[in-house]
Symmetry: C2
Subunit: 383 residues, 2 copies
Amino acid sequence: MNTSIINETHRYFAPQLNMPPRLLLGPGPSNAHPRVLQAIAMPQVGHLDPAFIGVMNDIQEMLRYAWQTHNTFTLPVSGTGSAAMEAAIANLVEPGDVVLIGVIGYFGERLVEMASRYGADVRMMAKPWGDVFTLEELHAGITAHQPALLALVHAETSTGALQPLDGVGQVCHAANCLLLVDTVTSLGTTPIFLDTWEVDAAYACSQKGLSCPPGASPLTLGERALAKLHNRASKVPNWYLDMSILSNYWDGKTRSYHHTAPINSMYAVREGLRLVVEEGLAERWARHQANAELLWEGLADMGLSCHVTDPAHRIPALTTVCVPEGVDARDTAVRLLNEYNIEIAGGFSQLAGKVWRIGLMGFNSRPENVALLLTALKQVLDR
Amino acid sequence: MNTSIINETHRYFAPQLNMPPRLLLGPGPSNAHPRVLQAIAMPQVGHLDPAFIGVMNDIQEMLRYAWQTHNTFTLPVSGTGSAAMEAAIANLVEPGDVVLIGVIGYFGERLVEMASRYGADVRMMAKPWGDVFTLEELHAGITAHQPALLALVHAETSTGALQPLDGVGQVCHAANCLLLVDTVTSLGTTPIFLDTWEVDAAYACSQKGLSCPPGASPLTLGERALAKLHNRASKVPNWYLDMSILSNYWDGKTRSYHHTAPINSMYAVREGLRLVVEEGLAERWARHQANAELLWEGLADMGLSCHVTDPAHRIPALTTVCVPEGVDARDTAVRLLNEYNIEIAGGFSQLAGKVWRIGLMGFNSRPENVALLLTALKQVLDR
């Protein structure tokens, strides 16, 4: 080997990793729980090791609890939340399918973009950012468009609005339509009853309500969704996210190799789910609601109002706060980051410059974080 | 909230994570370096945090060194190695494109499958598993098929064969054809000179030569590949892996949000690359070669032979060993795992039952691992 031709131009001696101690109170990621960070650093085993298969089984079962579903097909996709969203669309949409998407914010718009790329005949229902659909509106949309699939975002992270889902699945199924729900910000933070609501497919992420680093993202498919997948006329046009073949790795019997799983991210998800199971869903949901109400009261005391006016339609894990007249939204966020190591986010698109987005998710949903955030925000706004 | 309807069926109280201390000497993952495991457990910052943007810059620059390329577009994709492979195909293939794939093993077959799903007019050249193509054969294939893209696997992990690449890019470019190379098992282990070889696009993984957990996978695109991407007639039919929009997050100027990056996996990749930079490529490649030769000598002393007969065509990081007549390949691997906590793999498809696959990758390429593996293998075969 002639090593004299090695080019040293890009041989950059980077210093030791040294990250600032951020408190992540934006729309996600939230801080990982310390036990999750211990878990992710465990030395890995192979992705076909019997010990790893035990990890996979544990994750699947605890995910069913978190989502309140009996779905056998319940697993984390090997990517961040957008990969799980793409997996849902890639597997359940065939070219020409009428797909109705209820757009209440950015993530609905992304569903439109993705479904279009997979050749769907996309129909859109839209609401101003901050609003949600009534059951009657959704019913009317289904009647008008007769879609094969209705896609909704449960907790719209771009607006802070929580879409009620009670009864939607029943309306869909009466019209022979599948219901797909984005639970990226609601899983582990907000009441979800996938089976009771007759949701056919849902996806989420790891870095919000589950208090994990981003990297492995839950997906669940019920019987109707699986029937759609197995009766496709064409292959899923996405090999990495083809659940018809990946299911042979996760199904508990064949465990045949598809792609190398992100093993340590799976350790993390397992630990995040253990924390959900230990706390219990009722207690966890109540904690998120209580800390959200603490935040809302504190904001009101400072004369600040929430963008979503009806508290019943607010996401407990993510609050959009109206930026007062004359205040530079971005400047406030930059100062919170630089002076207090606190990350919050601004709004974008319809809400650019108009709101801040404050997250209290999973491990971060604690009274001390509310107290600190309110104090820091007040100090920044007062100066 | 009516929490009385919470179903406790799947509330499984999993025990604390407790994984066996495996030595991973299979085709990957290999064990992560201890410094990488420290890095992955660092508390995360947001994916738009200025501190994270520094991490991204560091990774990009060190990846250019590892691959020996000046390509500006050099970054880790948010998934495991197969996601990087899919990203390469999804972005560089348009429906109807003639894509020539040199198949010397399973990963070439997977390229055929992926390119087909993206609508390519796929042409295949195939060799028995263990062989490689000569430059003349590749030249003849290009002349015969006039492809828009030639895809080759540099280090075919299913067979142990190393495809020589010197001169291939020049032949491709004379025929106005792009060259895509799979370097999943060669990056960080085997001499690679992407720019000298005129490779237009390449991808890799984190869990082999870079000694990281799987989860973020390098991809690089040169000027010709970027021109192909930017002149597409249709959108990339894969939103998550659309490099034309993701590049706005990585380009150093706009940093606009596309999807949440797997932050801790990026910490890990950065640390894995620091180890490459500190050691130096010449030293690292020599170390892999030396430990591979130690293994080959030890195997020969035991009367075992390598499936790839010409040592110059063997992958230093992954050796395929012929299973002696009368020995059950799978039983040997199971006993190494159960009795010695050592993972090696068997062969599959054309090589099922015929070979073992032994990896010495990154951190794991050390003389003590060779000594232990040889001793353990001898003991298992002798009993």
